[in-house]
Amino acid sequence: MEILVCVKRVPDTSENEIELNREGNDIERDDLVYSVNEWDNYAVEEAIQIVDKVGGSVTVVTVGDEEDEEVLRREMAMGANNGLLLADDAFQGSDGRGIATILKAAVEKGNYDLILTGALADGGEAQIGGMLAAMLDVPFASVVNSIAVLDGNKLKVGREIEGGNQEMSEIELPCVLSIQTGINEPRYVGIRGIRKVASVEIPSMGAADLGLDASAVGSAGARVRRMDYFVPEIGDGAEMLEGSTDEIIEKLIEMLKAKGGLK
């Protein structure tokens, strides 16, 4: 099975103290460290496991610039066979639809049976997978937490449903799936592994290579623009529970039950 996994390099929220920049339209990026978007990492692990079982190859793709190559290498150190960097000045400032357009063009240059994305990334939009599927006119399943390969070009996929329920579906290939964390336990990528792929040539494609009109992507083609970005004031929503320890525990359990945290 030929699998394409779309990955993104994101600021690592657990390793950073996020502060707003002076203009107030973005976060301060000087002291940031980056890593692969967590959901994407699960997607790559899943792709590797599928290929281990049924054969084929895994290609990881990202839209960005040379700095983003690092995440492709990390995923290749993990076990992905090929990397593909989609880089062009014209891609700068793309909105979700723009990114999906670029990815669609890349998908059409290859011959993939299955396309995986993370369920969402740092922006929290969770839109690329769905848009990409629509543009490619292939079926789509979101927040997938299990995949089994069936005979006859089909997959059985599990999806996480509100309230902790589980749905199982059959889906035809080719398709796009957006992957939920917890679908597997991604393997560790050691420094030795990264060094091993450090000198592997990663092909890069620009708008012309992909046959894209520069005005359809990037800030020129964007139809969504960010207007503001800020940390909301912390409200005084905290509720202090009072009483003896037993009473507090009882109240807490009641509240957790009421909010669906306990069953």
Binding site: D12, S14, E15, D31, G79, P186, G190, I191, R192
Partner: protein
């Protein structure tokens, strides 16, 4: 005087079969079989990885004299140890007798060279007593095995559940047979002499020979002749059967322990290189990293497996085993040995096994080890565990088999140089941002252009953890008071990488080491001080090419002795203190006395020792990355440790390691002993005792520095 009985060498069975023929065939067959078995057993060692151990010969001879010949570690378990010393001494003494008996059956009246005159006479007396005490020791050992069943010999269900009693008893039976037949052989002759009215020579009183010769008094000479020859051949057969049986199980140690001790790891605190003979630069090109297959172990580590006596002392002292983690060092060895026996059979094809993880060892088993070193400290035959565990982890890391709980901190170490992923620029916050502290104690920042004689290497936990920053501050106050001109690397300091290395991420460790080494060299400091035993161990044993490194306890003690630090008394605070030895200060670096001397320098301080102290200290739960690991366990090590302190009657646990303090403070809460038990770092305690003591005048300070 004419011989009263025909010797085995001159006796003809049924009057025409010369028995010397058998006395010749038995050893020839026995020795050939033994050599064959040993050659087959050596096959995996030949295929294993290199491990140069022929250095520092005088030291190695010294270890053999102390640990092998002197049985130094045995009495740590009093009963078993004393029994073993008797058996071992008996074996050594009787080995000469056994060899001469074998030859006596071929050549009548044979004596080993030098054993004919008075030496032989003295030896006969000594060996008669030896045979007697060996038999007595065998009886006591058998009774212990069968009646008292010490728990450490048990085999938990996880490892098959079948106790290894049969092998133990069989061997005891063989030894008893050897002692009895050897004595009967001599006693029958002595009795025949008495029958003949002749003088029986000197028989050492109260020995087996003495007892048997009295029992045999009055037996016909013909029967004695049968007994004499019969006991000889039973002895001969048993001896060679035993010899060939040794390499079949744990009694292989009789042969291998001498070599295992000679080739032992001489240093503590170290970790073996990934592959001997492969430089750091070549590591990227290795196609196999660490231990994945059995043959990836070094030959010495395989010899360890053969040498394991299955005595259970390692596991009895293993904190991971004590809290129910799925690790028992004893079975690391026994499973390794069983693998060797199975895949390298005595006859037939040698075959390659599967990867060890998932078949012989489990991931959780290998991650459970805190590398505290209690097992190695205890092992009477100097089996190594830490290097094996680290090598197996290296193999797992290379395959990506790392628990999710450890992936995050490893990633943060790579990106930020500390396992919490905190910002590099905040590494010196404890020294600068706390205004009250900074107002009193100035800490030079070597990354900001300051210069100092001494580097205080803080390491990650004391730099970033709110609670442990107090240790860093106390250390700085002490250095300042002692008149040490010191500074810190601040944002240039990276985690020492001590645990990164011990968790198998060698390349990450090397990156951190190189960055730290460069920063230290550039800072131009003349010496290094640290309060973190893990950092201390890394700087001393893992780094190399550094200025001299001291742990703060040594600095404090020197300052007290030089009169630069004065401590006021505890004035009957009613507290009872106990000192918990951190593994990487005590067992790995032998700093046992300094912290105790400091405590004892505080007037009126009431200090008690826990039952487990010094080199038998019990790990608090492990430091560095072990703080992030989520083990399967029934209880926390720290909780057990806190209870040990309570049993000793203490209500203050003093330690000298930030990780110990984290674990013990948590454990006090978990054990529900808040208010009854407290934990404090040695540096913090010293600082509280310095308060109110007049500081030396500035001139004195300079003079002292």
């Amino acid at each position: 005087m004419e011989p009263v009985l025909a010797s085995p060498a001159s006796y003809d069975l049924f009057g025409f079969i010369p028995l010397w023929l058998f006395s010749l065939i038995i050893p020839v067959v026995g020795v050939s079989a033994f050599v064959y078995i040993v050659v087959r057993r050596s096959a995996p060692l030949v295929r294993a990885q290199p491990d140069p151990r022929l250095n520092r010969i005088p030291e190695r001879v010294g270890r053999v004299v102390k640990l092998w010949l002197g049985q130094y570690r045995h009495p740590r378990y009093r009963t078993a140890g004393v029994i073993h010393i008797f058996l071992f001494a008996g074996f050594l003494i009787l080995s000469f007798q056994s060899i001469s008996m074998v030859l006596m059956g071929i050549k009548e009246g044979y004596h080993l060279p030098g054993f004919s005159g008075w030496v032989g006479a003295v030896y006969d007396v000594v060996k008669s007593y030896a045979a007697t005490w060996v038999l007595a020791a065998v009886v006591v050992a058998a009774v212990r095995r069968v009646v008292f069943k010490p728990a450490r010999y048990g085999v938990p269900a996880r490892y098959g559940g079948k106790p290894h009693t049969f092998e133990a008893l069989l061997v005891l039976f063989l030894i008893a047979t050897l002692m009895i037949t050897e004595s009967l052989y001599e006693a029958s002759y002595a009795a025949a002499e008495m029958n003949a009215g002749g003088h029986a020579g000197f028989i050492a009183p109260l020995t087996l020979v003495w007892a048997f010769s009295h029992l045999l008094e009055g037996t016909t000479t013909a029967s004695l002749q049968g007994l004499h020859v019969g006991s000889y051949f039973i002895h001969d057969l048993t001896f060679f059967f035993f010899l060939c049986f040794l390499p079949m199980g744990k009694h292989f140690h009789v042969v291998t322990s001498l070599f295992n001790v000679f080739f032992m790891r001489l240093d503590t605190g170290t970790v073996k290189p990934v592959r001997h003979g492969v430089s750091d630069e070549q590591l990227d090109d290795l196609d196999r990293f660490g231990v994945k297959y059995f043959e990836d172990f070094t030959w010495k580590h395989l010899l360890d497996f053969y040498t394991c006596v299955d005595c259970g002392r390692c596991s009895d002292n293993c904190p991971a085993n004590a809290v129910g983690r799925p690790l028992s060092p004893r079975f690391i060895s026994i499973k390794g040995r069983d693998y060797a026996f199975k895949h390298y059979p005595l006859s037939g094809e040698i075959y390659k096994g599967k990867e060890l993880i998932g078949t012989v060892y489990d991931e959780d088993e290998i991650w459970s080890c805190t590398t505290c070193g209690a097992c190695e400290q205890e092992c009477p035959v100097t089996i190594e565990y830490i290097d094996k565990i680290v090598d197996l982890r290296r193999g797992m890391v290379d395959e990506g088999m790392v628990p999710q709980s450890l992936q995050k901190p490893l990633g943060s170490l790579e990106k930020r140089g500390n396992p919490w992923g905190k910002l590099e620029k905040k590494r010196a916050d404890w020294a600068v941002k706390d205004k009250e502290f900074a107002g009193k104690t100035r800490v030079k920042l070597l990354d900001k252009g300051d210069e100092a004689e001494t580097l205080y290497f803080v390491d990650s936990i004391s730099s970033y953890d709110d609670r442990m920053q107090k240790i860093a501050q106390a250390t700085a106050v002490i250095l300042d008071t002692a008149g040490v001109d010191f500074g810190i690397l601040g944002s240039m300091e990276k985690d020492s990488g001590h645990e990164a290395r011990r968790f198998g991420e060698e390349m990450l460790f090397q990156t951190l080491r190189d960055e730290n080494r460069e920063a230290i060299t550039e800072s131009g400091v003349k010496q290094i001080v640290t309060a973190d035993p893990h950092a201390y161990n890394a700087l001393v044993h893992d780094y190399g090419d550094l200025p001299p490194v001291k742990h703060i306890s040594r600095v404090i003690l020197e300052a007290i002795r030089a009169g630069r630090i004065h401590l006021n008394g505890s004035d009957g605070d009613g507290k009872v203190y106990t000192y918990h030895d951190p593994c990487y200060l005590g067992r790995h670096n032998q700093l046992y006395d300094e912290p105790r001397a400091i405590l004892d320098a505080i007037p009126d301080l009431n200090r008690v020792e826990m039952a487990r102290c010094r080199d038998r200290s019990f790990c608090c739960g492990g430091g560095g990355l072990m703080l992030f690991y989520e083990p399967e366990e029934e209880e926390r090590m720290g909780v057990m440790r806190v209870r040990m302190a309570a049993e000793a009657g203490a209500n203050v646990i003093v330690t000298a390691c930030p990780f110990c303090l984290v674990n013990i403070e948590d454990a006090i809460k978990v054990a529900g002993l808040e208010g009854q038990m407290e934990a404090i770092d040695l540096s913090e305690l010293v600082v509280t005792r310095m308060e109110g003591v007049a500081e030396p005048e500035p001139e004195e300070k300079e003079a002292a520095a």
